[in-house]
Symmetry: C2
Subunit: 208 residues, 2 copies
DNA sequence: CTTAGCTTGTGAATGATTTCACAAGCCATC
DNA sequence: GATGGCTTGTGAAATCATTCACAAGCTAAG
C-alpha cells in the first residue's frame, strides 16, 4: 500500500467519532460535505482520505453511516481489541488506568507497573499495580501490543528500551522528553509543555 | 509576519529543550547539525526554522547556546509567565494541577474549577478548587490567558463557550470530543483515543 | 594578510498534501 | 427509459513543507 500520511489517519479517527454520533442520532446516510463540516475540513478532503483505502460511498447518495463506521474501523484496525500496558502509576498513569473511555473504543488495559513499593499491590479500579521488575515477565505473559509510558523524563528511555526488547512495537510517551526508538517500533509522544508553548506562540503572535 | 507552520513551532519547542540540556552540560556553542541530530531532523531544517525569525548564528561557528535559548524563548513568547486555569478537577485535571513541570516552563496555574460540590473547596497542592459557577467572575479577576479543559465530553463545548466569552483566547482541550471555537481563539486538542488509534493503524499496517 | 576549514542563511528544487473541478453514476420522478 | 438533481471518486493544479546546494562569512593558523 502507498504510504498514508499521519494527517489522514488522524482525520479518519475524527470522522469515526462523528459517524458514531451521527448513528446514535439515527441518521442512516451522510454526505462527504456533512462529514467535513463536523470535522472542520472540506468535502474533497474527506473523499480523498477515504479514496486511499477504497470506495465506500454511492454517487448521488453519500455514505451509509453504519457501513462507513465498519470500514473505518477496519482501516484503523479497530475490529480487534488491543491490549495495553501502562508503565508508571503516578498521577497521569493512574488517571489513564482508571479512564473507562479506552475500553469502549477497543483498547484494553491489561497491566499497570510502577517501581514505588508503596504503589505495588494497590488496586486501581480493579487493576493490580505490578512491580516494574516484573515488566519483561509480564509482557511475555500478557502480550500487550501497545505500551503507554507515564514515568519521569529520566526513566523514560530505559523503560522504552525494555518494553521494545520485550516485544512491544507501539509506544505512547507521556514523559516530557524526546525518545529514540529502534526501527520497526512506532512511537508517539504527548507533551503538555509543547502544546502550551504552541498556544503561547499563537497568543504572542496574534494568530487566530 | 509570514505565516509560520505549526510543525516549525513544535520543533522550536523541541530545540529549546535540547538547548537547555546542552547548556546544563556546560556547552557554549552548538551547530545546526548537532541540534538536528538530537531532534531527529536535519541541519537544513533547523536553519530554515530559525531563519523565519531572524539570523541567530555565526557562520563558521554555529550558535551560542545561551543566546539561542533566549531567542527561542522570545519567539515562543516564554519570557513572560502565562497564567492558566484548569477547568475540571477529575483525574486528569487534578493530575495536571499537581504537575510541577509547568511552573518551571513559564506556565502558572492560577485557578482550578469543578462542578462537584465534594471537590469544591478541597486543596490540590495548595490550590483551592473553586465552583464552576464562579468561572466568569474568577476569570475576570485572575485574567488567565490559557484555559485547559479536563471535563467530560458532553460538558466541553459549553465550557469552551464560557471561557472564551469571558476573554480567554487559547484553549487546550483534553475532552475526547472535537470542539468549535469562535474566530480569534486558538484551540489545541490532546486526544488519547486518537493517539492510540494512530498506533493501532501503524501496527495493523506494519508501518515502522 | 592569506589560506584552509567550518558553518550559516537562503534561493531553488523537490516532495507531500490539499484543493479544484469534472466525468461517472445513482435515485426519484415523470 | 429519459431527465434533473445530487454526490462520489479522482486526475490535475495549487499550495505548503522539506531538502539541496552553495555563496557568504567567521576563526584560527601560518
Amino acid at each position: 500500500m502507498k504510504h498514508i500520511a499521519e494527517s489522514t489517519v488522524r482525520r479518519l479517527s475524527l470522522y469515526l467519532r462523528f459517524l458514531e454520533e451521527f448513528e446514535a442520532q439515527g441518521n442512516a446516510t451522510i454526505s462527504s460535505g456533512e462529514l467535513a463540516q463536523s470535522g472542520g475540513t472540506t468535502s474533497a478532503q474527506v473523499r480523498k482520505d477515504l479514496s486511499f483505502f477504497g470506495s465506500f460511498g454511492k454517487r448521488g447518495l453519500g455514505y451509509t453511516v453504519k457501513d462507513l463506521i465498519v470500514s473505518i474501523r477496519e482501516i484503523l484496525g479497530l475490529q480487534q481489541s488491543w491490549p495495553i500496558v501502562i508503565v508508571g502509576a503516578g498521577k497521569i498513569g493512574a488517571a489513564l488506568a482508571q479512564y473507562h473511555g479506552f475500553a469502549t473504543r477497543g483498547f484494553k488495559i491489561v497491566g499497570v507497573f510502577d517501581t514505588d513499593p508503596s504503589k505495588v499491590g494497590q488496586k486501581l479500579d480493579g487493576m493490580v499495580v505490578r512491580a516494574e521488575s516484573e515488566l519483561e515477565k509480564e509482557i511475555g505473559r500478557l502480550k500487550p501490543r501497545i505500551a503507554v509510558l507515564c514515568v519521569p523524563a529520566e526513566a523514560a528511555q530505559a523503560l522504552l528500551d525494555r518494553v521494545t526488547r520485550a516485544g512491544v512495537r507501539a509506544v505512547l510517551n507521556f514523559a516530557p522528553t524526546p525518545l529514540v526508538v529502534p526501527k520497526g517500533v512506532t512511537l508517539r509522544a504527548v507533551n503538555m509543555a509543547t502544546e502550551l508553548e504552541i498556544l503561547a506562540f499563537a497568543l504572542t503572535n496574534g494568530a487566530a
